[in-house]
């Protein structure tokens, strides 16, 4: 309720600003498709919506785009791919957006992105980490490093720390992202010569993992690798420790499990939990410090990597828009986005590679005292 009043005020203020600018402005509609309701997906959706809206606000205020003004149009798909498809259609056909940021879940992306590809509207995802996202077409980009890019680094670190010979895996069987994370983890483990001694699954909405974890405990693995979102991962970690899987058994997660919520739900049990990421909060650069401070000021909470990646996505669009000289030709905008090179972003210098994947240095993070910190080598 409060939010809609706020939105109304905002649009009223926007309308006034628009009329006083004597129509010299060109409005650029940016679709933001992020789940802000619907369970686990909302954890990531809210963060990305916040990150994108913060960047839009900053860019408009800075005047760096001259007469162009970015208008963020947020739509909640509730993590449901049917809704993502409807929203994409509406954004493309009615709102005539120049670019779509999102959607939150890879499952939704596989359903909805082809529509944008067909219509020639660029899509930039900032939380899809499943393989094959950018294979859907040359208009599909992502700023979220895929699991296959970050996990080998995580495993290399864990090998130094735990010297594992055996591993157990548990993953969500009814989610595209988790299934693909599982496949990435499995391949990486096997190529490192680590034997997988137990493989268990769970489903969306599960709360009790004790049966699976008891089986895993009996297999006595050196490490446990979880393919799950933050809320599920948090509970698996907590229940694993409660069942007596010792701290000497390292627990690794997927990039998608990174959330400030993880520590809150898992408590002390999450200490030592290891993940790979393209960004982390203490990353030492002026650009990142400014981002974190602005985010905290606006939202009164800490950003996570998904907020950071969504924020970067908007800066990529702004930068490309300038180079393309507007949005009248979306093909030109696409080419400009694809040519993004060494853009100063909150996780270092950002480029897209030939497959429209982010070229950023992956970082290994470890949970300590309720915060993700950079793993010490």
């Amino acid at each position: 309720m409060k939010r809609s009043v706020f939105a109304l005020l905002l649009s009223a203020v926007g309308a006034m600003a628009f009329s006083s600018a004597a129509m010299s402005e060109t409005l650029v509609n940016i679709g933001i498709v992020q789940a802000t309701s619907g369970g686990s997906a909302a954890l990531y959706g809210v963060m990305q919506k916040n990150g994108a809206e913060l960047a839009i606000e900053e860019i408009n205020a800075s005047g760096r785009l001259g007469d162009y003004k970015l208008i963020g149009i947020h739509q909640d798909d509730a993590g449901d791919r049917g809704q993502s498809v409807n929203i994409f259609q509406r954004l493309i056909n009615q709102e005539k957006v120049a670019v779509i940021l999102g959607p939150t879940l890879a499952t939704s992306a596989f359903a909805a992105d082809p529509l944008a590809q067909k219509a020639g509207v660029p899509v930039i995802a900032s939380s899809n980490t499943a393989p094959g996202i950018t294979d859907m077409g040359d208009y599909i980009f992502r700023t979220s490093p895929p699991e296959s890019m970050v996990f080998p680094g995580v495993l290399a670190y864990v090998k130094r720390k735990y010297a594992p010979k055996t591993a157990a895996q548990i993953y969500g069987i009814d989610d595209t992202l988790m299934k693909s994370a599982y496949a990435v983890h499995k391949k990486a483990l096997e190529s490192e010569g680590i034997k997988i001694v137990a493989t268990e699954t769970f489903q969306k909405g599960d709360v009790d993992y004790s049966a699976q974890l008891t089986k895993i405990k009996a297999a006595n693995p050196d490490i446990l690798v979880i393919g799950g979102l933050a809320e599920e991962t948090a509970n698996i970690v907590r229940q694993a420790r409660q069942l007596g899987i010792p701290p000497s058994t390292g627990i690794l997660g997927a990039n998608a499990a990174i959330s400030n919520k993880l520590a809150e739900l898992a408590g002390d049990a999450a200490d030592g939990f290891t993940v790979g990421s393209g960004w982390f909060i203490q990353y030492d650069s002026p650009k990142n410090k400014a981002f974190v401070a602005a985010y905290r000021k606006k939202y009164n909470s800490d950003p996570d990597n998904f907020a950071a990646q969504a924020y970067t996505s908007v800066y990529i669009v702004a930068d490309a828009l300038k180079r393309a000289g507007g949005v009248s030709d979306l093909k030109k905008l696409r080419d400009a986005i694809a040519a993004t090179k060494d853009l100063e972003a909150n996780n270092g210098s950002f480029s897209f590679d030939d497959h429209r994947e982010p070229a950023v240095a992956p970082k290994v993070l470890v949970m300590k005292g309720g915060k993700f910190i950079l793993a010490a080598d």
Binding site: M1, T36, S37, G38, G39, S40, A42, L43, I173, E200, T201, F202, Q203, G205, V207, D208, S210, A211, Q212, T214, K215, K217, A218, E231, N235, R238, Q239, Q242, L243, G244, K261, E264, L265, G267
Partner: protein, 294 residues
């Protein structure tokens, strides 16, 4: 062998929450013969009532009372607003089904608006985090407490149904509303009391499960409702001891299907079992022992 006993512990503690929830379901669905799809929403609401009470600093037993009363009052409300109104107008029972589904949806929406969609947890309780390791089997104090509370609730319900005048009235109404009216049982009030009991059991189950697995979310009731329906079919509609036995059975079946078959087949086995039971024992597994309802 220790793995087997560990799984037994896992199954019993999961099953105890199913049993408490299913007792409420069987009272409404079986004893009153009313289809109330909002039972899962009362379960969810109970978890939030308990959570808010715990956050206000109330000790856990009092928080449980809050969850019980909150769930019970919501149950009564659903009877007064939906079912009684529909009965008075001669509505078909499908209308009650749809109306209660709508109520459940509204409650989920309301919970999303008030508490947000994110999963929340109960405040950490140092005492309940104690656990023992007996011959390699981990037993948490929390699991023991939840089992004891569940058994107490079962005993309490049995006492109310068998020994109290309300219980006798409920059983009379279950036998036949007309007969109940003839012998002077206040039918309306008795149905209302049953709704209170069922809502209270759902609310208590919500708090127990929320504590046990550290999860409270607006969506937790939907899956639970399906489990509740499963249990009352296993146990026999309206059969309270059957609901208890069925609850523990479903918990154990789920855990052991993960343990000895595969985690991917857990629900397939659970629901396959329903099919099987419906085919061979349409009145529930325990129909031979217990013919009366409630």
């Amino acid at each position: 062998m220790s793995t087997f006993f560990q799984q037994l512990v896992n199954g019993i503690s999961l099953g105890s929450t199913y049993a408490v929830f299913a007792m409420g379901c069987t009272l409404i669905f079986g004893v009153l013969n009313i289809v109330n799809m909002a039972q899962g929403a009362f379960f969810m609401a109970g978890a939030y009532f308990g959570l808010e009470a715990a956050r206000l600093g109330l000790p856990t037993p009092l928080a449980l009372v809050v969850a019980l009363l909150g769930g019970g009052l919501l149950g009564m409300l659903s009877e007064l607003v939906i079912f009684r109104t529909l009965r008075a107008r001669g509505g078909h029972r499908w209308m009650g089904l749809v109306a209660s589904l709508a109520l459940a949806r509204m409650m989920v929406g309301l919970a999303q608006e008030i508490f947000g969609t994110q999963v929340q947890r109960y405040p950490a309780n140092g005492l309940l985090q104690i656990s023992w390791e007996i011959a390699d089997v981990r037993i948490q104090l929390l699991q023991v407490v939840i089992l004891v509370v569940s058994l107490l609730l079962m005993a309490l319900l049995a006492f109310v149904l068998q020994r109290s005048s309300t219980g006798r009235a409920i059983r009379t109404v279950a036998f036949s509303e007309d007969v109940a009216r003839i012998v002077g049982v206040p039918v309306g009030r008795t149905i209302l009391a049953t709704f209170f009991l069922a809502g209270a059991l759902a609310g208590a189950a919500g708090m127990l499960l929320g504590n046990l697995f550290n999860v409270v979310s607006p969506f937790m009731g939907e899956q639970m409702l399906v489990k509740g329906l499963t249990v009352i079919i296993i146990g026999g509609l309206g059969n309270v001891p059957g609901a208890v036995a069925g609850g523990f059975m479903l918990g154990l079946i789920e855990v052991f299907s993960v343990a000895y078959v595969s985690s991917s087949f857990r629900d397939a086995i659970g629901f396959g079992l329903i099919f099987f039971i419906l085919l061979v024992k349409p009145n529930g597994l325990f129909s031979g022992f217990e013919e009366r309802r409630a």
